[in-house]
């Protein structure tokens, strides 16, 4: 307390120091005057009286010094003084200062922005109260082929809610679209279906109205809906009277019971939230299409919850009937096991590696920038050498000099950092506005106090880092010896340039690491691009999703005829080459996968074993032609197949090869989906593989069914059609507003109440599937380019400096008959030597570091010899160029001039 009080007094008095000094002087004068008067009274002569008084008082200056040290904060005073000096020196060298601050601003800005992204996505907890207690409840089935991971089934909802000991709340959710009609144009917003418990688990209260209650969850009670803030604003202009109004969703009236707040976020970014209802008496074991979410009771760990779920799985397996047509042993043999994970991990997915690699890369760029700045500071310190030596000779301690130099470099670092924070802020604003949807938690990205602290820390640290180099060289304890060596510049040995050499080598080495990183990404990108994806010219394919509401057409055949009519209208649009219809477009796995086990008539599977899961897609004739998917054997479906309900199928080449060895051999074989009495369908065609999950993933095996069928396990009594599907249009006008408007018009001309949604092009989907690679590629390429440029400048700077220092020597050599080629060679060899050592160190470092990014690579290993060789060669050539240019100046020197120099 006392110490604190003193510190505060010191702080305040430090600000009023000038006035206090005058008062102190007055007080001392007064004291001495009183003593003098006393001495006079004792009979001393006036002169002697004052002399004695002064003697008795002691050394006025020394006392003042002690007094001042005690009064103010001498450390801060010198710091302020040093900073003022540093700023003054910077103003005197605006070019140097601007170069340094700009370099640092770019380096620190890039690092801060990336850290801001990492902080927002990976570090900050999710925007829910006590988000760390939220887990996603997932399962795995080691007993099934390829041990898939999935969410939960409706029967699990009941068991888990009733039997659990570790959840405070538990619920299931799923995301899909829901049609909204009756308000303006028909549309299909993203909908989130939640059971009771999901919103309670995340714990975000609605802005208006109320949450779902258990009644909303009960089948046959009135239908209700919650709006999210964005949809409420967009569709109803934030009208608060919305609560209680009725919306027609999926052709049924729903009462709006509330609006979620702006800050509410959920996976898949929903616009509407609808209750998920389960009829308890009609639930089976299977059907794992839901996602589970739970809030753990306080103090319960994920391991404990996993044990609890494992226990409940035993109860669940006995409590519910298996789905019709599937044997109970199938579920037993699947050996379901819980796999809970923090909800955050679910949300952010696998973006972490890419972000950390980018962060590491930009860290290296900052290091190179620091090396560069250190080099510039060295040149400045060189020119101040005499001043420093003089000051040291006059008694300035080396600590004092070192501190002043350090203050200067940290000031530079902080100024650069301040500008860098500005740049990072602008960059993140841009990212949030234009950023890819594939980036999770995009709208939460920003610079928070942690990112700001990071920026300040990095600024100060880099200032200290590049500041310490000239200090080690010039402000060491033996500083005074420098005085001797100044005067005429001598042509001196390697010793003198050692620091500069080390810096250049470090720059080259780091640049090589960056270039190899970007080289590997370029090779990855090349490999991805060279994969034949199973479709051609994706830039020509326009994709529109559409849905025929039940209220318009219920009969499967009518639905199909309507879609057929739309296809014909679309095909008639000028510039359209072909059109196709399917349940979904390639590369749309983000809509959820449609995997089911497929059985073959001539294959037998052990009882209680499920046949492997295959990707199912339903198509109409012309789909493959439009996509450019080659038919390898057999034929495409025909309209007769569809309308006459022929039981036919098409499979992908990899499925045909897996089961029958050859595409041709698959024709005539019969397959079906595993389930109650799905009819056998004869394979009439085999098509090439389609990389449906992205070109970096092995293409899935496909079974294609006709869009219209008379009997299907998932269909009704009258057969099955694809109610919600995708129209693909191949045209040279793809992506233009004109084509889109005409296509929408074509759909609405057939049916005016049909929503059109998820409008995109196949190229956009294709690019999106490579978004992570291209993002990393661009970042690494920028970093590599910066690294190369700075590294080259580093070598150039060293050679140019060496040349300028050795002008006299060059003059003497030339005068004595040295050949220009020999001189040129001497300097180029010098540069080559630096580049070579740098490259060698860089190669070793790269071999270690690139391993960290191996999960981002495709088709190349982290030690790809082509990349390593090409990048090293590039760097050596660049090094030769960078030393050749200044070396040419050396041989152009006139010996007479050179000897006269200085």
């Amino acid at each position: 307390m006392k110490t604190l009080k003193r510190l505060f007094r010191r702080l305040t008095s430090w600000m009023t120091s000038a006035r206090d000094d005058a008062l102190l002087q007055a007080e001392f004068e007064q004291h001495i005057a009183m003593q003098t008067a006393e001495n006079l009274r004792a009979g001393l002569s006036p002169i002697e009286a004052r002399r004695q008084a002064l003697l008795k008082f002691g050394n006025v200056q020394a006392i003042k010094e002690t007094y001042r040290d005690q009064r103010g904060l001498p450390f801060i005073e010198t710091l302020v003084c040093d900073t003022r000096h540093a700023l003054r020196r910077m103003r005197k060298a605006p070019g140097f200062t601007a170069a340094v601050i700009l370099t640092l601003a770019l380096g620190i800005g890039a690092n801060t922005a990336t850290f801001g992204v990492i902080d927002s996505i990976l570090i900050r907890p999710l925007a829910y109260p006590q988000a760390e207690a939220l887990v996603s409840v997932r399962h795995t089935a080691p007993g099934l082929p390829s041990a898939p991971e999935f969410g939960g089934s409706s029967s699990m909802y009941f068991t888990y809610r009733e039997e659990n000991r570790s959840f405070e709340q538990f619920g299931l959710w799923s995301a899909s679209g829901a049609t909204v009609t009756g308000v303006a144009e028909p549309e299909m917003p993203r909908a989130l279906f939640v059971t009771y418990g999901v919103l309670d688990a995340v714990g975000v209260k609605p802005l208006l109205g109320r949450w779902f209650s258990q009644t909303d969850d009960t089948p046959k009670s009135p239908e209700t809906v919650l709006l999210t803030y964005g949809y409420w604003q967009r569709r109803f202009g934030g009208d608060t009277s919305i609560v209680g109004r009725t919306l027609t969703i999926n052709s049924t009236p729903h009462t709006v019971i509330g609006v979620m707040p702006d800050a509410f976020r959920f996976q898949r970014d929903p616009e509407l939230i609808l209750p998920q209802r389960f009829e308890r008496s009609a639930q089976f074991l299977g059907g794992f299409g839901f996602q589970g979410i739970a809030r753990l009771k306080s103090g319960v760990t994920i391991e404990q919850a996993n044990t609890d779920v494992a226990r409940m799985l035993g109860i669940w397996l006995k409590a519910w009937p298996p789905n019709p047509g599937i044997d109970r042993t199938v579920f037993e043999n699947a050996r379901l096991a819980p796999r809970l994970q923090p909800l955050k991990q679910d949300v952010i997915g696998d973006i972490g590696t890419a972000l950390w690699v980018v962060m590491g890369t930009l860290g290296l760029v900052l290091l190179i920038a620091c090396a560069n700045v250190a080099n510039l500071l060295l040149v400045r310190a060189e020119s101040r050498q005499q001043e420093i030596a003089t000051r040291a000779a006059l008694g300035a301690g080396w600590r004092r000099i070192a501190r002043e130099m350090l203050v200067e470099s940290i000031t530079l670092g902080v100024l650069g950092g301040a500008l860098g924070i500005g740049l990072a802020y602008a960059a993140l604003q841009l990212l949030v506005a234009k950023g890819p949807d594939t980036l999770p938690r995009l709208h939460e990205i920003g610079i928070d106090p942690l990112a700001l602290a990071f920026a300040v820390g990095v600024s100060v640290l880099s200032g200290a880092l590049f500041g310490v180099v000239p200090i080690l060289k010039y402000a060491r304890p033996r500083v005074a010896t420098a005085l001797r060596s100044v005067g005429r510049t001598f042509s001196d040995g390697r010793e003198r340039h050692r620091t500069r050499h080390i810096l250049a080598v470090v720059q080259v080495a780091l640049a090589l690491v960056l270039l190899i990183g970007s080289g590997l990404m370029i090779r990855t990108f090349q490999h991805l691009r060279s994969v034949q994806p199973g479709f051609t010219h994706p830039e020509e394919i326009q994709i529109l999703h559409s849905m025929i509401p039940m209220a318009i057409a219920k009969e499967p055949e009518r639905v199909m005829r309507m879609q057929h009519e739309i296809l014909d209208t679309l095909a008639a649009i000028p510039g359209v080459t072909s059109v196709g219809f399917a349940s979904r477009a390639p590369l749309e796995s983000f809509l959820g996968s449609n995997l089911n086990p497929i059985d073959a008539e001539d294959k037998t599977f052990a009882s209680g074993r499920v046949p492997p899961l295959r990707q199912i897609r339903r198509i109409a004739p012309g789909y493959f032609t439009t996509m450019g998917t080659r038919v390898v054997a057999g034929r495409d479906f025909s309209w007769t197949d569809l309308y006459d309900k022929h039981r036919v199928a098409i499979v992908s080449e990899n499925l045909a090869r897996e089961w029958w060895g050859d595409p041709g051999a698959a024709l005539g074989k019969r397959i079906r989906e595993v389930g109650p009495a799905d009819p056998w369908r004869e394979i009439v065609g085999v098509v090439e593989n389609v990389y449906d999950d992205g070109v970096h993933v092995k293409p899935p095996e496909f079974a294609y069914w006709p869009a219209l069928m008379d009997r299907y396990i998932w269909g009704g009594e009258n057969g099955s059609a694809v109610v919600s599907g995708m129209f693909a249009i191949r045209s040279n006008r793809t992506g233009t507003e004109g084509l889109l408007a005409e296509a929408q018009q074509a759909i609405w001309s057939v049916n005016g109440r049909q929503p059109v949604f998820l409008i995109t092009t196949l190229e956009a989907l294709y690019d999106q599937s490579m978004a992570r690679t291209s993002f990393t590629l661009v970042m690494l390429a920028i970093a590599g380019g910066m690294g190369l440029a700075i590294g080259i400048v580093g070598i150039y700077g060293v050679i140019a400096f060496v040349v300028s220092q050795r002008i006299r020597e060059i003059g003497i050599r030339t005068a004595l008959g040295a050949q220009p080629a020999g001189l040129l060679g001497m300097f180029v060899r010098h540069g080559l030597w630096l580049a070579g050592i740098g490259a060698a160190i860089g190669l070793v470092a790269a071999a270690g570091l690139t391993r960290l990014m191996s999960s981002l690579l495709f088709g190349v290993t982290a030690l790809d010899p082509v990349t390593y060789a090409a990048v090293s060669a590039l760097l050596i050539v660049a090094g030769v160029m960078a030393s050749y240019l200044p070396a040419r100046r050396a041989i152009a020197i006139d010996p007479i001039q050179a000897l006269r120099a200085e």
């Binding site: 009080k5 003193r6 008062l23 007080e27 001392f28 007064q30 004291h31 009183m34 008795k56 005690q70």
Partner: protein, 123 residues
């Protein structure tokens, strides 16, 4: 005589400052508000020739006490009508003085007893 030159050894300074501070507090307690010269004179008088201070060294001590809040100062007129800075004891200073005086007495008592003990007493 206590060595009271320009402070070189920190340890020495601390001891000296501590003693000096206690004397300043006691002086102000007994005599009421006083200027620096008066305090210095008083300390000299009381301690006789045993303690001659370099009077100037008093001022850093006064500053420290003021920063700690034990004394306060204001400018006023001296006996011969000159402007002088007067120091006075604050409430906190009085409390501090009492505490330190007590601990000082305890220390002296202990030391006294310690020296009074004869060898045979320890058997």
């Amino acid at each position: 005589m206590l060595p009271v030159g320009s402070p070189k050894s920190m340890k020495d300074t601390d001891v000296r400052q501590g003693t000096l501070a206690l004397m300043v507090l006691k002086t102000l307690d007994v005599l009421g508000p006083l200027h620096g010269y008066g305090i210095a004179r008083r300390i000299e008088q009381i301690s006789g020739d045993l303690l001659t201070v370099n009077q100037g060294t008093l001022y850093p001590v006064l500053l420290k006490l003021e920063q700690e809040g034990s004394i306060a100062s204001e400018w006023g007129a001296s006996e011969n009508n000159r402007k002088a800075r007067f120091y006075r004891l604050t409430r906190q200073g009085r409390k501090q003085l009492q505490e330190e005086a007590r601990s000082w007495e305890q220390t002296t008592a202990i030391i006294e007893r310690f020296f009074a003990v004869k060898a045979q007493d320890l058997k």
